[in-house]
């Protein structure tokens, strides 16, 4: 009988110690992160470029927004007449394609008159935080080091280096300048080079006309 009471008291003590419950409470709060795509390109100036050839020197040396490099007769090396600036804001990696809407320039006076696209070329400069060779890549201009001829749309002009965080950014990160030239016959290492023959020496000579094409830009998220 004595043993029974001792065992009973022991069991009661154990169960009291083991099974006393500290009560907690829990609440669940659903939490959502809605990442809406931000993808915007703005051409801030130079949305319309026109080269006017008025002299033999123009035909011999071409016209350029970067006369110092191209040897153009254009008197201003940073003439804003031949410069286009654009900015890009993107919340994700992006890729910019560009190119002429048509396969050649078309004469406005006579549509039968054509001028090949490679008479026009350009270089590309990054003015923003993102630079070529690090966050960005430009294959047509070999990261902005070469003059590329104008090509027909679509050609990937700028993309990133595959780093998911590289090209995404605001307009301070992605700020670019295209420096156009026409008839300068600049042939470098770019995949698409300008016509090596200046307008004055081409055979047949281009027929005088106002040649036009639209250059399209398409910004896409990656």
């Amino acid at each position: 009988m004595k043993n029974f009471f001792l065992i009973s008291i022991g069991l009661i003590a154990i169960t009291t110690t083991s099974h006393g419950q500290a009560v907690r409470d829990r609440n669940v709060i659903p939490l959502a992160v809605n990442l809406n795509q931000v993808l915007r390109m703005s051409i801030t100036d130079g949305g319309n470029i026109e080269f006017t050839f008025n002299s033999i020197e123009d035909y011999r040396s071409g016209l350029s927004g970067d006369a110092g490099t191209s040897g153009s007769s254009n008197p201003a090396t940073s003439d804003p007449m031949y410069v286009s600036n654009f900015i890009i804001a993107s919340s994700t990696r992006w890729e910019l394609s560009y190119g002429s809407e048509q396969a050649t320039f078309i004469g406005t006076d006579n549509p039968a008159n054509i001028l090949t696209l490679d008479n026009v070329g350009f270089t590309l400069v990054s003015n923003g935080v993102h630079t070529f060779g690090t966050e960005l890549t430009s294959a047509p201009t070999i990261d902005g080091t070469e003059v590329s001829a104008l090509e027909q749309f679509p050609v990937v002009l700028i993309t990133d280096n595959g780093n998911p965080l590289s090209s995404a950014g605001d307009v301070l990160d992605n700020d670019f300048t295209i420096i156009w030239r026409a008839g300068t016959a600049e042939v470098g290492a770019a995949p698409a080079t300008m016509n090596p023959v200046v307008l004055l020496e081409q055979n047949p000579s281009p027929i005088p006309d106002r040649y036009v094409t639209s250059v399209l830009f398409e910004l896409a998220a990656l």
Partner: protein, 177 residues
Amino acid sequence: MSNRLFLLLFLCYGNLRAQDNVARLTTIIGSHIEFNFNSIDNYTNGIRIDEGTTLGITMSAIAPFVLTGWHIDVQAFSGATSIDGDGGAILPLNTIQIEASDANGNLSGATFNGLQDLGIAPGVTLMSTIDPTHLPADPNTHQINLSYECGIANGSLLGAVSSYYTVNIEVILIPDF
């Protein structure tokens, strides 16, 4: 003999159901939180939702137990290890930070630990108190606010895949003895 055995089992059963305290969290405001990233500024600087949730606290001891205080932890619910979007897109849990604060000035003396990364269990402690004036706690008097941040402390969300990401967070009220 059988009566004694019955008495013993009854006592054991009673002790199995013993409870030391009462605890309850009451969501007063903000049972659902959403961060909307609509601009590059949102992506660059992140988003903070100040005092998005208000919780009322119920906490009291049941004699003979004596509470010394209580604290609130937070963690991802049900073992979630990421914030999941569509098509397999994920964000790490530490994209989000949570901070507790005194909602109505009745928790002075409590310790608030500032912004804490959301993480897996066991969670992190948002606040704790051993102040005797906070015991017992009732939801009309003792309330805390939760503020949330996303895309700030551990890098911006620039470059993250656009999607609608969701995660459930678990707020736990824990007594201290």
